[in-house]
C-alpha cells in the first residue's frame, strides 16, 4: 500500500541514521492521521518519533534548526491545508538558509504533507496547494502517485541535502502497487511514462494519474492510444520526458486535481508552448477542479473535482 511504502522508506532510512527523526501531530501514539507512521514510535522511541503540539511553525522551525546542527528532520504536516500556517518557516527559513548564509550549511529536511480531496474532508482539508511551493528557489518538491514512486522518491528526498516537500495524496494512501523487496531509490527530476501511447499525451500528477490511466484503458478499446506521463517530481522537473512525449503525439492534455488557474498545469503548459511549440498540432488543454473551494457531500465534491468524464471529454475534443 502507498502508506506502507512511505512508512518503509522512513523506517529504512531511520534505521541507518540514528539522528534522523520524524516529528508531527499525531504521528506517535496515534499512528498518524492517515496511519502512515503506524507503530514507528515502538521501533524508534519517542525522541525519534515525536508527537508535536499543534504548532506547525514551531515544528518546521524545529526541523530547520535540528537539520543544520547535525540531525535530519522529517516533519509531517498531515494536511497541506495547514501549510499556510507554517509557510513562513518553509519559505523564509528552510528554503533560504543555504543561499542566504553563502553556502555555510544546507537544510537536509523533508516535509511530508497530503494533498487531495475525494475524502469528504470539506473546504479546509481537501486542497491541493503544491503550486504554492513550486515557485520558491531553494525548495524541492515531489508528488508520487504510486507506492513504488512514493518509497523511491521519499528515500531520495530524505538523503537530499536540501529541503524537499513530499506531496502525498489522501485518496492514494490505501492504494496498492508493486514495491521491490530489495532497496531502491528514484532520483528527483525524472518523470515516468506510466502508459505508452501515440495519439495524445496526458500529463497528470498524484491521484489524477490513476484517473487518467482508467480513461486511457477505456479509450484503448476504441483504438485511441493515450500516453500518460507522470512528472513525479515538480522541482526539479523533467522537461525532457514531457517534451519527448509531446514530440511523439503532438497533442497535450494536462490533468491536475487543483483548480486550473495558478496550478502547476500552467507551468507545464508554458514549457511545452515555449520549447515544444513545433511539435504541437493542437492547443494545450488543461483539466482541473472548478473554481471553488472543495465542498463536502459527494454530490457537490464530485461536481467540483475533476472526473473521469472530464478527462475523457477533453481527450476526445483534442483528437
Amino acid at each position: 500500500m502507498y502508506r506502507e511504502a512511505i512508512r518503509e522508506a522512513m523506517v529504512e532510512e531511520m534505521k541507518k541514521d540514528k539522528y534522523l527523526f520524524l516529528i508531527g501531530e499525531d504521528i506517535g501514539k496515534y499512528g498518524g492521521e492517515f496511519r502512515v507512521s503506524g507503530d514507528m514510535v515502538n521501533i524508534f522511541g519517542v525522541d525519534r518519533v515525536r508527537d508535536a503540539p499543534i504548532s506547525e511553525q514551531g515544528q518546521i522551525g524545529l526541523g530547520v534548526g535540528a537539520s543544520v546542527t547535525g540531525c535530519r528532520a522529517i516533519v509531517e504536516i498531515p494536511f497541506c491545508d495547514f501549510m499556510p500556517m507554517c509557510a513562513d518557516q518553509i519559505v523564509n527559513q528552510a528554503a533560504k538558509f543555504y543561499y542566504m548564509f553563502g553556502g555555510q550549511a544546507s537544510v537536509p529536511m523533508v516535509i511530508r504533507t497530503k494533498i487531495g480531496g475525494f475524502i469528504g474532508g470539506s473546504e479546509q482539508h481537501s486542497q491541493c496547494l503544491e503550486s504554492w511551493f513550486t515557485n520558491v528557489p531553494g525548495l524541492k518538491a515531489v508528488i508520487p502517485s504510486t507506492p513504488y514512486d512514493a518509497k523511491g522518491l521519499l528515500k531520495t528526498a530524505i538523503n537530499d541535502p536540501n529541503p524537499v516537500i513530499c506531496f502525498e495524496n489522501a485518496y492514494l494512501y490505501p492504494m496498492k502497487g508493486p514495491v521491490p523487496e530489495e532497496e531502491y531509490t528514484i532520483p528527483l527530476g525524472v518523470a515516468d511514462v506510466k502508459r505508452e501511447g501515440k495519439d495524445i499525451t496526458v500529463i497528470a500528477t498524484s491521484y489524477m494519474v490513476w484517473k487518467s490511466l482508467e480513461v486511457a484503458e477505456k479509450l484503448a478499446k476504441e483504438g485511441i492510444s493515450v500516453e500518460v506521463v507522470d512528472p513525479r517530481s515538480l522541482v526539479p522537473l523533467d522537461k525532457e520526458t514531457i517534451l519527448n512525449s509531446v514530440k511523439k503525439t503532438g497533442k497535450v492534455l494536462i490533468v491536475n486535481e487543483a483548480p486550473i488557474q495558478g496550478s502547476t498545469s500552467g507551468e507545464f503548459a508554458a514549457i511545452i508552448a515555449d520549447e515544444g511549440f513545433e511539435y504541437l498540432e493542437a492547443p494545450i488543454k488543461r483539466v482541473g477542479a472548478k473554481w471553488a473551494p472543495i465542498p463536502n457531500p459527494s454530490v457537490l465534491e464530485d461536481y467540483v473535482l475533476p472526473s473521469n468524464d472530464d478527462i475523457e471529454k477533453a481527450i476526445r475534443q483534442l483528437l
Binding site: L62, G65, Q93, M100, G102, Q104
Partner: protein
C-alpha cells in the same frame, strides 16, 4: 544593581572588551553608513551591548545562537571575525555570506552562529531545533535565542517556548526588552504588568524559570546567564531571561524615531558602557589611561576590519546563482 566586585577581574575585563568591540564597531559602521559608502540597511545594537556580551561570555565555541536583524552585537559577542562581518556589510566577496545578504543575515555556522534573521521571531523555532538536536545527540551544548519584546508577541515564541519547556530542551530564551518594535512602542501593545515583569510572567506561562534583569548591567546579565546556561547544560531545561534595555538609535540607522526625547535622555544616563567604565575606575580595575588604551586598541581592530572590507572585491553578477541548492 550588581557590582564588578561580584565577579573575577579577568572576566570583567573580558566582558568590557566585548562590549567595546560591539560599541566601536557599531559607531564606526554608523559613520560609514551615513557617509553613503554602503548599500542596504543597518540596524545598530548600540545601547544593548551588555546583553550580548554578558550572555555569550558563558558560551563555548560549539554552543549555538540565533540572532536577529539587530544582530551585530550577538555575532561579535559569539566570536565572529570583524573583517568578515564588515566585508559582509560592504556586500563584498570576503563577507560571511559572500557579500550577498548584508547586515541582516550575518552567520558563522562553524562557531555556532545560526544566522541573523530578517523575519522577526523566526530565530526561536530554529533555536528550539538546535536544542532538539543537542538532546538527540546527547551533548552538553546549549542554544541561546536572542529576540526582542516585539518578537515575543509572535506566535513562534509561544510555540518554541512551549516545546522547549515540554521537552526540557537546552534553550536559553534571551528577550531583549528595549520597549519598541520598529515604530510601535511596547506600552501600546502589551498589558502593562506583563511588560513590566515579562520574564517572570511569560516564563511561568510556559513552565520555565523566567527572570527580569537589568539588561544594561553587564554583571547582572552575566550572572543571570551563567545560571541559565548552567541549568541547560545539566539537562534542567530552558530559561526565559528578559533583559531590560534601550535601543539608542532609531530602528534602522537614519530612520525616524517615534520615542519621547525625555525618555531617551533618561535611558542614555544608564548606558551600559559608561556604567562599567565608571565602576572599573572606582574599583581600580582600570585607570582612565587603561580605558583609553582599550578603546584605542579595539578601534584599531575595527579600522583594520574596514580596510579589509574595502579591499575585498564585489561579488560577480553570476555569483547570484550559486548555493541555491547543495
Amino acid at each position: 544593581m550588581s557590582s564588578v566586585k561580584d565577579i573575577d577581574k579577568g572576566i570583567v575585563l573580558k566582558l568590557y572588551e566585548t562590549m567595546l568591540k560591539i560599541r566601536l564597531f557599531e559607531e564606526t559602521e554608523s559613520r560609514i553608513y551615513k557617509s553613503g559608502e554602503q548599500e542596504g540597511f543597518v540596524h545598530l545594537y548600540i545601547g544593548q551591548e551588555a546583553i550580548a556580551s554578558g550572555v555569550c561570555a558563558n558560551l563555548n565555541k560549539d554552543d549555538y545562537i540565533t540572532s536577529t536583524h539587530r544582530g551585530h552585537g550577538h555575532v561579535i559577542a559569539k566570536g565572529a571575525d570583524l573583517g568578515k562581518m564588515m566585508a559582509e556589510l560592504y556586500l563584498r566577496q570576503d563577507g560571511y555570506c559572500l557579500g550577498r545578504s548584508g547586515s541582516l543575515h550575518i552567520a558563522d555556522v562553524s562557531i555556532g552562529i545560526l544566522g541573523a534573521n530578517g523575519i522577526v521571531g523566526d530565530g526561536n523555532p530554529i533555536a528550539l531545533g538546535a536544542g532538539y538536536s543537542i538532546m538527540l545527540r546527547k551533548t552538553k551544548q546549549v542554544c541561546v535565542s536572542f529576540f526582542g519584546d516585539g518578537a515575543s508577541n509572535q506566535g513562534t515564541f509561544h510555540e518554541s517556548a512551549n516545546m522547549a519547556a515540554a521537552w526540557s530542551l537546552p534553550v536559553i530564551f534571551v528577550l531583549e526588552k528595549n520597549l519598541i518594535g520598529c515604530g510601535v512602542e511596547s506600552r501600546d501593545v502589551f498589558q502593562c504588568d506583563v511588560l513590566r515583569e515579562i520574564g517572570k510572567r511569560r516564563g511561568a506561562a510556559y513552565g520555565m524559570p523566567g527572570f527580569d534583569v537589568d539588561g544594561n548591567d553587564i554583571v547582572e546579565v552575566y550572572l543571570a546567564a551563567k545560571k541559565a546556561v548552567g541549568r541547560a547544560r545539566k539537562g534542567e531545561g530552558p530559561t526565559l531571561l528578559a533583559c531590560a534595555t534601550y535601543r539608542q538609535r532609531a530602528h534602522w540607522e537614519g530612520d525616524i524615531d517615534v520615542r519621547d526625547e525625555a525618555e531617551k535622555a533618561e535611558w542614555f544616563k544608564k548606558d551600559p558602557i559608561d556604567r562599567i567604565e565608571k565602576q572599573m575606575i572606582e574599583e581600580k580595575i582600570l585607570t582612565e589611561d587603561g580605558i583609553k588604551s582599550y578603546r584605542d586598541r579595539i578601534q584599531k581592530m575595527v579600522d583594520d576590519a574596514v580596510k579589509f572590507a574595502r579591499k575585498s572585491p564585489h561579488p560577480k553578477p553570476e555569483d547570484a546563482l550559486l548555493y541555491v541548492y547543495k
